[in-house]
């Protein structure tokens, strides 16, 4: 019954998008999930550049990465693939490439010398069997902390460098009438927060053991128990409106000086910018507590499905070149809040937060893979389920949660 409704839904989506798919020369139908204020301004940089070059931009924005990826998969399965689709670099892109759904971009990569101009970790993950399949446009990090300078000034304490610091000041912040931690209580946001806590509790080498080596014993070890315990203590510092809140709504709590800090990827900076606030003055930024030596890479890429028509392929080539242009990447990331993926683009020019980020990410040891780089979507989903279950069920013990984490890792590669 549900299968049927899913298929019908897919058919409805396809029918709705048919006019866009009947592409003429140099029409780019782009699926992405950048819909918030800062994000849509960022994608607008590419759209404007594409139109200035004579193309037509068809914006197939979806609300939320899940809906966008579902729409992309449905359209590929239905034989009407988009010109380009946004994805997060990682195992999923490798799987798409392995299925032969993506166009190899080797000719462009060689002409533009992509291998030398991108960080090695990105090159490794944007390629499959030696072929380039993805155009990386930015480097985000998961483990950023955003704070309200006004609240910290008023309470008279310093922004926390570690979680011990946080617990030391959180009660004072709460007593002053503010929410210490702005959390959007959606499973992926809870999971993001928890992953930064794993680094804080176990250190980046421990994080690598779990997320790179998939070490089953480490995944259930004392560091994981400690991380879950620490995570559980944070329940007292979140307001009751948290469940279901969107990440940008949580960001606005910090921007409006209602909440002291938010742990969120640096796409949050786009929201502060859109609200007209200045980094380092109206709001502060640094890496999340306990993770000042780590940069958990989240890389947005565009992938290009295999298309039959030459016109459509030409549009893909034009779009890929625009997206890889250093000047466009700097301009794009000014709105997006990230660092340019290209090493030869001038990130320092963006703002104070980008300067901090650039300094930390320049150390190759600080570069850690995020969830999408470490595990398949399926395993990521199981971890997210576990983390959200633990967060919402105070009766679950940290030991039990750590044991289940270890089970998930044990079954990850089977």
């Amino acid at each position: 019954m549900t299968r049927k409704s899913v298929l019908l839904g897919g058919a409805a989506v396809m029918t709705a998008l048919l006019p866009a798919a009947m592409a003429n020369a140099q029409t780019a139908d782009v699926i992405h999930w950048w819909t918030s204020g800062g994000e849509s301004r960022a994608i607008g940089v590419f759209a404007d550049a594409f139109e200035d070059a004579g193309g037509t931009w068809v914006d197939s924005a979806m609300v939320g990465g899940q809906a966008a990826r579902a729409s992309a998969m449905t359209r590929i399965a239905g034989g009407e693939p988009p010109t380009a689709m946004q994805w997060n670099i990682g195992v999923a892109v490798q799987q798409l490439a392995e299925e032969g759904l993506l166009r190899p971009l080797n000719d462009l990569a060689e002409a533009g010398n992509w291998t030398d101009n991108l960080p090695p970790l990105i090159v490794e993950n944007a390629t499959h069997d030696g072929n380039f399949y993805a155009v990386p446009v930015n480097i985000h990090a998961d483990n950023w902390m955003w704070y309200s300078t006004a609240i910290f000034d008023e309470v008279g304490v310093e922004p926390p460098e570690t979680w011990d610091d946080f617990f030391a000041v959180a009660d004072q912040i709460q007593a002053a009438g503010y929410t210490p931690l702005a959390l959007g209580g959606q499973p992926w946001q809870e999971s993001l927060l928890f992953r930064t806590i794993i680094i804080a509790a176990g250190g980046r080498d421990y994080y690598r053991q779990v997320f790179v080596d998939h070490d089953v014993e480490a995944a259930g070890g004392p560091q994981m128990v400690e991380a879950f315990e620490l995570f559980g203590r944070l329940r007292d510092y979140v307001d009751e409106g948290s469940p279901g809140r969107l990440w940008n709504e949580a960001t606005m709590m910090v921007a409006n000086n209602e909440a002291a800090i938010q742990i969120m990827g640096d796409w949050a900076k786009g929201e502060f910018n859109a609200a007209g606030l200045v980094a380092g003055e109206d709001y502060g930024c640094h890496m999340a507590p306990g993770t000042r030596d780590a940069y958990v890479l989240v890389v947005d890429v565009f992938t290009f499905p295999v298309l039959d028509e030459d016109d459509a392929t030409a549009a893909q080539t034009m779009l890929a070149e625009i997206m890889m242009d250093p000047a466009h990447q700097v301009e794009f990331n000014r709105h997006k809040g990230a660092l340019p993926a290209r090493l030869d683009a001038d990130a320092g020019a963006i703002d104070a937060c980008a300067a901090i980020g650039e300094q930390i990410v320049s150390d190759p040891d600080a570069q850690l893979p995020n969830m999408a780089l470490a595990f398949s979507n399926d395993v990521e989903g199981q971890v997210t389920d576990l983390v959200t279950e633990y967060w919402n069920d105070p009766s679950m013990t940290a030991e039990e949660a750590a044991e289940r984490f270890s089970d998930i890792v044990a079954n990850a590669d089977s």
Partner: protein
């Protein structure tokens, strides 16, 4: 004779494409889903059979247990709630209230909205920090608490409330039509016997509307199984996955998690649940005929 055969042929010819489409799209997809649920399919279908492995994993998953149980909680409460409220409204209107048309319109209005709109409206209304709770508190009742939306034990009931609000208008319309079709003589007879009005409704009038009740139950049951949009808009399955329903579980597994095998296994379990729920009804129908 020829004319009759011709008419017959025409209707057969007209119906054939529909029957083929039904068979292929509906039963074909169902068979495919059942088959895929026994394979190791991931992001794309894969036809290596792995026995019951997908079901094994599905029933080891806490989230699935919660979703599956929620379907029954939601189903029972929503169907009885909407039926009771809809019937009550119909009876009240049937007793010749003033401005009957206005009431009918008001109660039917929610039905004209999509579940997405219903879900969003109720989400704002029930949000403890901007909705009803903060409104009542701002009026001076500081300790007023209504935070079901963010309470993992109660979140599923907010979905029940919103669904009843949306669904009971339709039940009212159907039941009211039934009540109006009752012969006036029946009413005269009950009046003559001195039966109180409420008793007449409970013992005489409503039992005659049994076929309509069955229609209503079927309509409501379909809503239960396909309710996906309401959950997405109202709680998105949260807090955590406390208010998840199987339909959402299936869509998440198929698309977000690129796990068609799990999605198919879950969809087959839903189908089983629907068959189990409908079996007594078909049994009754067969016995009666």
């Amino acid at each position: 004779m020829v004319g009759a055969l011709g008419r017959n042929l025409t209707s057969k010819a007209v119906l054939t494409p529909t029957i083929i489409a039904m068979t292929v799209c509906f039963y074909g997809c169902m068979a495919w889903t059942i088959y895929v649920s026994f394979t190791r399919s991931g992001m794309l279908p894969n036809y290596d059979l792995v026995g019951l492995a997908q079901y094994d994993r599905l029933w080891g998953d806490n989230r699935w247990h919660v979703s599956f149980a929620n379907m029954f909680i939601f189903g029972v409460l929503f169907i009885t709630g909407a039926l009771a409220l809809g019937t009550l409204l119909a009876v009240l209107i049937d007793t010749k209230v003033r401005m009957e048309g206005a009431f009918r319109t008001i109660f039917l209005y929610p039905l004209s909205m999509s579940f997405i709109v219903t879900g969003l409206a109720w989400r704002w209304f029930l949000d403890p920090t901007d909705g009803l709770q903060s409104f009542v508190r701002s009026l001076g009742w500081e300790t007023f608490e209504f935070d079901w939306l963010v309470d993992r034990d109660m979140a599923i009931y907010t979905i029940v409330i919103a669904a009843i609000w949306q669904g009971s208008g339709l039940i009212m319309a159907i039941m009211l039509a039934g009540l109006r079709s009752i012969d006036r003589d029946v009413w005269k007879a009950t009046k003559m016997d001195g039966i109180p009005t409420w008793r007449a409704y409970v013992s005489v009038i409503l039992p005659q509307l049994q076929p309509l009740v069955i229609t209503c139950v079927v309509l409501l049951a379909i809503t239960v199984v396909k309710s996906f949009d309401l959950v997405v808009a109202l709680t998105n399955g949260g807090p955590g996955f406390a208010s998840d329903l199987p339909a959402k579980f299936v869509v998440d597994a198929a698309f977000e998690r690129a796990n068609i095998g799990q999605a198919s296994a879950a969809a087959v379990m839903m189908l089983m649940a629907v068959i189990a729920a409908l079996a007594p009804y078909f049994y009754l129908v067969r016995r009666r005929s």
